[in-house]
């Protein structure tokens, strides 16, 4: 291991080291902590210029209540769920299928198709913006959640195919040979061999896709317009324009937007880290 592990019996040294790292974490997250602190501060205190002192009065409930009652954040939050959940499900289904075929049924051109999925995933959003927007307008889907769902499923399928293809390719080949020897059709192989085994990969992929789609801002502003369909990211930015001096409300809304991906991350941290490293490293 590198750096050299601090010996188990050097208790004091270990405690000091941990304390030092904790201090670095606090500095690292200081910008976020400041916003959290502001989100529980009252408006009067902000007016009086108390930005950094300990809050004299905690307005946690008032501020978050104001976010729910006086702004459209709750609507945006619901929109984000309506966009994100179907997108994740769609991506999981499509990429299991493409990953299965590209890893287990090699044919002429299968490597090229795989390379297109992988390469397309790195393209900047702007290169497809105009035609995608035009397509959604012509389909009558512009400014509906379907426009975002369709786009996100299409785009995330690139990364997800890379991910599932590598995972299924790493499964023991004997399983597939046995399935073939018993005369299982591709559909039966998918159902009885692949699906039960890819569950951990699907969990990792689900949390990654959830985070990517939830956090999207660009497509939210390109493909939607009205408050009735806008997701939280676009909504938050609008809110910031409307509530310029009410920093406590904006901060509370910011924390509210950040919460779902952060909570998901802490709940499924192992999957998230494993997914991200595998996606990037295994290529």
């Amino acid at each position: 291991m590198y750096p050299r592990p601090i010996p188990e019996d050097a208790r004091i040294q270990r405690a000091l080291y941990l304390g030092g790292v904790a201090l670095v974490v606090i500095l690292w997250l200081l910008p976020l902590l400041a916003v959290m602190l502001t989100s529980i501060r009252s408006n009067e205190e902000l007016m009086a210029g108390n930005y950094w002192g300990w809050p004299q009065k905690f307005s946690l409930i008032e501020n978050y209540k104001a976010v729910f009652e006086q702004t459209a954040m709750l609507r945006f939050f619901l929109n984000s769920l309506l966009i994100t959940i179907p997108s994740v499900i769609g991506v999981l289904i499509l990429s299991t299928l493409t990953g299965f075929v590209l890893s287990r049924y090699p044919f002429r051109g299968s490597n090229l198709i795989f390379a297109l999925f992988v390469g397309g995933n790195f393209l900047p959003a702007q290169i497809m913006m105009i035609p995608v927007r035009d397509l959604m307008v012509r389909l009558g889907l512009y400014d509906t959640v379907y426009a975002l769902i369709i786009f996100h499923i299409a785009f995330q399928t690139g990364f997800a195919t890379l991910f599932m293809r590598n995972f299924i390719a790493a499964l023991p080949g004997e399983l597939f040979q046995a399935a073939r020897a018993e005369g299982a059709s591709p559909f039966q192989t998918l159902r009885h061999v692949v699906v039960p085994l890819v569950r951990p990969a699907l969990a990792a992929l689900a949390i990654l896709t959830f985070t990517f789609v939830w956090n999207d801002y660009f497509w939210a502003i390109v493909l939607t317009q009205s408050d009735a369909v806008k997701p939280v990211t676009a909504g938050l930015n609008n809110l910031r324009g409307e509530w310029t001096s009410a920093w406590n409300i904006v901060s509370a809304a910011t924390i509210f937007v950040a919460l779902p991906p952060v909570v998901m991350f802490f709940m499924m941290q192992k999957h998230f880290v494993a997914g991200l490293t595998m996606g990037a490293v295994k290529g």
């Binding site: 590198y2 910008p31 790195f122 393209l123 959003a125 913006m129 035609p131 059709s185 502003i221 490293v281």
Partner: protein, 294 residues
């Protein structure tokens, strides 16, 4: 019929499995990207008919001062983002100790990565606020006043890119931690026997083993820097006076705000060409690595 099916199902079913994903990705992502190149040869307001103008959009672009501002800012983003891999490595080295409680600290380091870029933008807007931001707190402690970075034409791009660095460092840190976990213990032990310690150990024994992960961290960071859009849109809308646009943002502005879709498409195409070089370099590196592993 059923004989025909049985004889062909070994390839028909897989083809049917592949098609939905392939068609969706092929039309919405790949064909759309190519269509943009086609649109860039036209004059188009986004609604009416397209008028063929050949290379006129590109010729105009070559004379557009804003284009060079964007290009310059893209380079600044790239240079600032190059700090992410070394800082990420340093943080990974710091937390790579097995002490009770280290796991939770490690995950706290990753938090910026799961935040939406809009969130990061709002958070750093707060940091940079000249009246009460963290930066002012820092300057105030030394009796100074913080510069209003986001309204300063010289510093604005540096400030926004530095904010974008925050999640990028966390990403590099995750990659390097994975790399540190797969180090070859025998080589490290041999290094220790030979008296290599600290910096020399890092330089001669550890870093060579991290070369693949390092390559990925750098490549992902380069691509991330060139894709930057959200932070600029949220923090400054490209201002002040268009001084902090990048190609991605300028393209959006020309298309959505000025209805010059052909011109926007031309900017997107230039960005596309720049990116393709890096994407090809990255994929080529990955393929090489996979071959040498196999």
């Amino acid at each position: 019929m059923s004989r025909l099916w049985r004889r062909n199902r070994h390839w028909v079913t897989p083809a049917l499995f592949l098609l939905p994903g392939l068609i969706l990705f092929g039309t919405v992502i790949l064909a759309a990207s190519i269509e943009t190149v086609w649109i860039s040869l036209h004059d188009w307001d986004g609604i009416g008919a397209k008028t063929w103008v050949g290379l006129a959009n590109y010729i105009e672009l070559a004379d557009d001062p804003q284009f060079y501002v964007s290009l310059k800012n893209n380079v600044i983003w790239l240079l600032i983002f190059m700090l992410a891999p070394p800082i990420g490595l340093a943080l990974a080295l710091i937390v790579n100790q097995q002490i009770r409680g280290m796991r939770i600290l490690k995950s706290l380091f990753f938090v910026p990565l799961v935040l939406a870029t809009v969130t990061v933008g709002v958070v750093f807007g707060w940091v940079y606020d000249p009246n009460f931001g963290l930066l002012q707190l820092l300057f105030g402690a030394f009796g100074g006043t913080a510069p209003a970075l986001l309204s300063d034409e010289t510093f604005v791009t540096f400030a926004v890119a530095a904010a974008g660095l925050w999640p990028q460092i966390a990403f590099c840190m995750i990659l390097f931690l994975a790399g540190l976990n797969s180090l070859n213990d025998d080589l490290i032990a041999a290094g220790r026997v030979d008296g290599a310690r600290g910096w020399r150990m890092l330089r001669h024994v550890v870093l060579p083993q991290l070369s693949q992960v390092g390559f990925i961290a750098i490549a992902v960071t380069v691509i991330g820097a060139l894709r930057s859009f959200d932070m600029i849109a949220v923090m400054t809308s490209g201002g002040p006076y268009g001084s902090c646009t990048v190609l991605a943002y300028q393209m959006y502005q020309e298309s959505i705000f000025s209805y010059r879709f052909g011109y926007g498409a031309a900017i997107a195409t230039v960005l596309f060409v720049i990116m393709i070089v890096f994407i090809a370099w990255y994929l080529n590196g990955l393929i090489k690595a996979e071959r040498s592993n196999a």
